[in-house]
Symmetry: C2
């Protein structure tokens, strides 16, 4: 046995190892890995990445979203967003409009082209979800939705 190798130490941990839900931790990793792989393939073909996907998705879903709203949703920095947003505007996927009340704001809207992209990206993801819900049984959707909603937020506990 090589030096430093540990097979099954149950030491010094506040929590016993087997109290950890490794199964769901790993399933979440694999599920998300494959969930993102479908749109990634489409995005490759138009020289966009996952960051563009997120922006076009949320703008399409919430027309009139401001830049500040989007930063808050995505939890990324202004500069990270600016880069991809500029590309999306320049290539005609997203329109910016000065806010009618507050003209400092830039309200964001997908163009027809942007809407079509958002749909094309969502479609394989939705199909994958539908297939997984089927496998999980007829009542699964509500349970899964509650579970996922419960995953969101600060831990605090």
């Amino acid at each position: 046995m090589p030096a430093g190798v540990t097979i099954n130490p149950l030491t010094s941990s506040a929590l016993e190892d087997d109290a950890i839900d490794f199964e769901l931790i790993e399933l979440l990793f694999f599920a998300y890995r494959d969930f993102t792989s479908d749109p990634d393939q489409i995005l490759d073909g138009i020289d966009f990445g996952r960051a563009h996907h997120r922006v076009v998705h949320f703008v399409d879903r919430q027309p009139g979203l401001t830049v500040a709203d989007l930063l808050d949703t995505l939890r990324i920095t202004k500069q990270s967003l600016a880069r991809v947003l500029k590309q999306l505007v320049d290539t005609g996927y997203i329109d910016q409009v000065a806010g009618p009340e507050d003209r400092r704001q830039r309200k964001l809207y997908t163009t027809e082209k942007g809407h079509r992209l958002a749909m094309a990206l969502a479609e394989p993801q939705s199909r994958r979800i539908a297939k997984a819900l089927e496998a999980a049984g007829p009542e699964s959707r509500r349970t899964v939705a509650r579970f996922l909603a419960g995953m969101v937020g600060k831990t605090s506990v």
Copy 2:
């Protein structure tokens, strides 16, 4: 109304927009965003990133994993793995051992230090999952596990 802005076009799409499961698509995004945020905070403190997390996790869970196994699990390239794996070996989190049957292989094991890190990273994730399962009800774990397992793999459908 600005030029090019589209509010609600139901055109040219094979699928009607409302057949898309936007709710679960977004819940998955938010759930995963927050699921990864807990370990990210810990990793920041020791100059590691998400890539190190994944490696130390799977090696800890499957002691004796080979490099090829790991590449297959993570679906990244040899070079991407080599970078973080080298750092983990150099800093004493992971040991490499020549395979007993096939000496070309490098079997990977966490050290005691690596095991402790893997546990520390898994613990807040597991707590978050437990909390979400509670919110989803007593029978939710099996349903969620089946759903997530159903999300894995090629779409093909």
